[in-house]
Symmetry: C2
Subunit: 123 residues, 2 copies
Amino acid sequence: MSSDRISDAELTIMEILWERAPLTATDVAARLPDDRDWSLPTVKTLLSRLLTKAAVEHRADGRRFLYSPLIDREDYVSHESKRLVDRLFGGRFMPLVAHLAEQEQLSDADISEIERLLREMKS
Amino acid sequence: MSSDRISDAELTIMEILWERAPLTATDVAARLPDDRDWSLPTVKTLLSRLLTKAAVEHRADGRRFLYSPLIDREDYVSHESKRLVDRLFGGRFMPLVAHLAEQEQLSDADISEIERLLREMKS
DNA sequence: CAATGACGTTTACAGATGTAGTCGAAACGA
DNA sequence: TCGTTTCGACTACATCTGTAAACGTCATTG
């Protein structure tokens, strides 16, 4: 099921595929961010775990596979946001937003931008 | 170090101690939420792992221990919120608000509340 | 056609996590 | 004082995660 959690390392792979797909395992490895310098076998392991979790699919291309995400980034982000909010804020989003707003040094420009967004939402 | 991550199960214990401390292991077990029906040994294991992670401390009371949180709930919440924002929104607060906005997970009341918060921050 | 390389699959292995049993010592009740 | 309960400490064990090596196979190239 796609209800399996995606681990941190796996998320790194997903981000690459969300940005561009389909890709071969080698392509994915080539696009790793600098702070994730994994060997090709590692990337392959992560890809096959993602296959098991039905988070990606692969299609044969000659004797290689082309991998593509099966789950939507938007859905994943929503799911994880909700998970955090459930765990830490009793399921309410507002406290999270308020908390972050308090923590974060928002520039006046940021604030105006958010206000604009909020005005749009209201209508 | 207190930089060790607190797992889900451990968080359940922390929440109990944040609500009321100090408590003995047995007390903690008695306060478990209904959906976490753990045996006493399990609770003790989790408590000792939290000790190792320096997330709680204990003080002898006769032959028992009284456990208290060492880290602040506020700090933990900040840390985890930041982690989410870093992982999923490139560390920026705005995209999170935008995301929530799109998902329509903020009520009109929520929005007004955020606006009030932002106005306060501007000054 | 043989050697080399590119792939996917299988196996590995340490550390974290969820969940709990066992054990020895101390305390308490009869 | 002797059995029973109660602790904490130690041990256990399956699963998940991070990271990767080994292996078998097909393709490519000399």
